[in-house]
Symmetry: C2
Subunit: 352 residues, 2 copies
DNA sequence: AGCACTCTTGTAATCGATTGCAGGCCGCAG
DNA sequence: CTGCGGCCTGCAATCGATTACAAGAGTGCT
């Protein structure tokens, strides 16, 4: 026993596989565990001399505090869960990047989950919260996991991004969808278009009626009568956008421009145009929404509405962390600015 | 004090915000914490009657064991880290899906990390391991995070997917890249092509020389002399593929077919062809590698080599979990089958 | 010398589980 | 009646940290 301790004092640790604990460090540095803990957490409380000695041992043993033990004691896991409905969707990746950046600045770990809108998966990530392995939740899907209290004191720290659940107090970081959509359609109108179709989003998502409202608003602002035949719902996918656009282009009096509720369906619309032998933008203008990476490399490159995705992610993470750390931010509603990115899929139109 | 306990016994818990602990359950059910723990973990050790009583209290209080406390005691976090070099890359999303499926079957949590090949980010995720918040590591990037022991008893459970670090004992789940590449090029040869270009991967990635070797092998098998001028390195991106293909198509005697080291660069090649006014597949055949989603919706849809990505992910997770749970699987090398998916970007060629 | 104060450090309780060990109870065989 | 073995259950140690509290040393003042 003495022997073992002496080996430890000389060499750091006996078993190379085992990691040093705070007790090892304390023993080797000849102080109590309390002092080791303080040296790391609040060095100003420890004398110069002791601090030096402890730090030396910390270095030589490669000691890292066990996060589980710390989290258990402090009741703070220093980790947050980010629930993404679909990893494959490029719209989310940039948001997540922003989140990670902000999280690591405050030394929070990010536990990312791909739910595919599957309640089972949502629940399984929700467990991490109930488990105490995470302190808060960032939701990109506009839906609460089943069994998660939406309000009241039992609600864990949550922030919604982009989409929310109407009627609850959860903070939200978003853009002004109606205004952004109106801006996009307004741009088409300014180019001379009068007959403008709308490839809408799926009815189940809040975004859809919001962007549709902006579309309608833009038309009405310049006295263009709203024609329901020019609106076809899709599902935010390439395939859905292609089919919806095809229906619009097959109309007896087809639109000269399309406003698509997101970029992916706009890509579908570009394909539908090509399917029919229409040139974009000469015969048809197409405008998307989101500014995903693909928009830049599509043929032609897509004119679209850019959301400041990384900033939105960072902002949401910021609000979440501050909530976790005790600020009362309930009911916050943060609106981020958007930007129209003009590329090659739109051009002016003179009545023929 | 007595008062509080009576309220608890009647109503479950006093404060609705606070979560029940094993002590609460034990007290209310009038048993020891040991019995509660056993009821949940090894019910067969507990008498029918007691089990019923405990379970009732567990239900009514909504008790969930604190994972941190358990992990601290059992020294098993029941969580693994998955390091993805680039979330935006659709190649990885399917792999990750397979991993998640297998993990949740064994009740492991998946902590996903987007490293962007940044050593800083890698280190920050590595901390979760050193921290004891995770039990193992799944690497999709073919590189070890800095400071991670590659071999010896100190090496944590790790599995590589798709790419590995040559010369270390870490298990690997992969495909046979040379053989798969050879199959693809062989297909072009069978279609009648004789002058076949190769848009290669970046030199830094192991995949690149492997696929290049397969390309060369296929040519040599039918006595087509290898021409270095027909090989241009790109970087697995759309842009890089486009530029590389442009160089090949600008050759005095341009190739009639291109084998691209991945789908994204193949998309770039398709664009380069269109830039030059070439029709695919009539004037140029293009074949990719990976079979990402985009391959199906590109114009024309891309002929490519499909990797069983979900299965690879699931398999890798399987090996990792078994390693964590004590099986000695060091040095394992699992090779998964690939499949040639013929779509519209390739057609037969008769010498003109 | 005595007292008050600051500066450092250690003691020990605590977070919420798991689990080895021991003891109580019961039935049954000798 | 005694002893033994099997079934349940509880006691208490343990995982590895944090932190309230107390105690001792040193300083300065009266």
């Amino acid at each position: 026993m003495r022997q073992e301790e002496e080996i430890r004092e000389a060499d750091g640790l006996v078993e190379p596989g085992a990691r040093a604990t705070i007790d090892d460090v304390a023993r080797i540095a000849n102080v109590s565990t309390a002092t080791v803990s303080r040296t790391l957490a609040r060095p100003e409380l420890v004398s110069e001399e002791t601090r030096r000695r402890v730090m030396e041992v910390v270095e030589s043993t490669g000691y890292r505090p066990n996060a589980l033990a710390r989290a258990l004691r402090t009741r703070a896991a220093q980790a947050v869960i980010v629930l993404v409905p679909d990893f494959g969707n490029p719209f989310y990746t940039e948001i997540v990047r922003g989140m990670e950046r902000r999280a690591s600045a405050s030394d929070y770990a990010v536990l990312m989950g791909n739910t595919e809108s599957d309640p089972e998966r949502e629940r399984s990530y929700m467990r991490l919260l109930l488990d105490r392995r995470a302190d808060g939740l960032l939701l990109l899907s506009g839906r609460l996991p089943e069994g998660c209290p939406a309000d009241g004191p039992a609600r864990p720290p949550i922030v919604f991004v982009s989409e929310d659940l109407p009627g609850c107090e959860v903070p939200l970081v978003r853009i002004d969808n109606p205004a952004a959509a109106e801006m996009a359609v307004r741009y088409l109108i300014d180019l001379g278009h009068r007959r403008i179709g709308h490839v809408a989003g799926p009815p189940g998502r809040i975004l859809s009626p919001e962007r549709h409202a902006g579309y309608r608003q833009a038309l009405e602002a310049v006295q263009i009568p709203y024609d329901p035949a020019l609106v076809v719902a899709a599902d935010f996918t390439f395939k859905g956008g292609r089919a919806a656009a095809r229906r619009l282009l097959d109309l007896p009096e087809p639109p000269t421009a399309l406003f698509c509720a997101n970029d992916e369906s706009a890509m579908g619309a570009l394909r539908a145009a090509r399917d029919k032998g229409l040139r974009v933008p000469e015969d048809l203008s197409v405008i998307g929404f989101d500014d995903i990476q693909l928009a830049e490399i599509s043929d032609p490159p897509l004119t679209t509405v850019r959301q400041p995705r990384a900033e939105m992610g960072a902002k949401a993470m910021d609000v979440l962390i501050r909530t976790i750390e005790g600020e009362a931010l309930s009911g916050l509603d943060i609106v981020m600015p958007v930007e129209l990115v003009v590329r090659g899929s739109t051009s002016s139109w003179r009545p023929r």
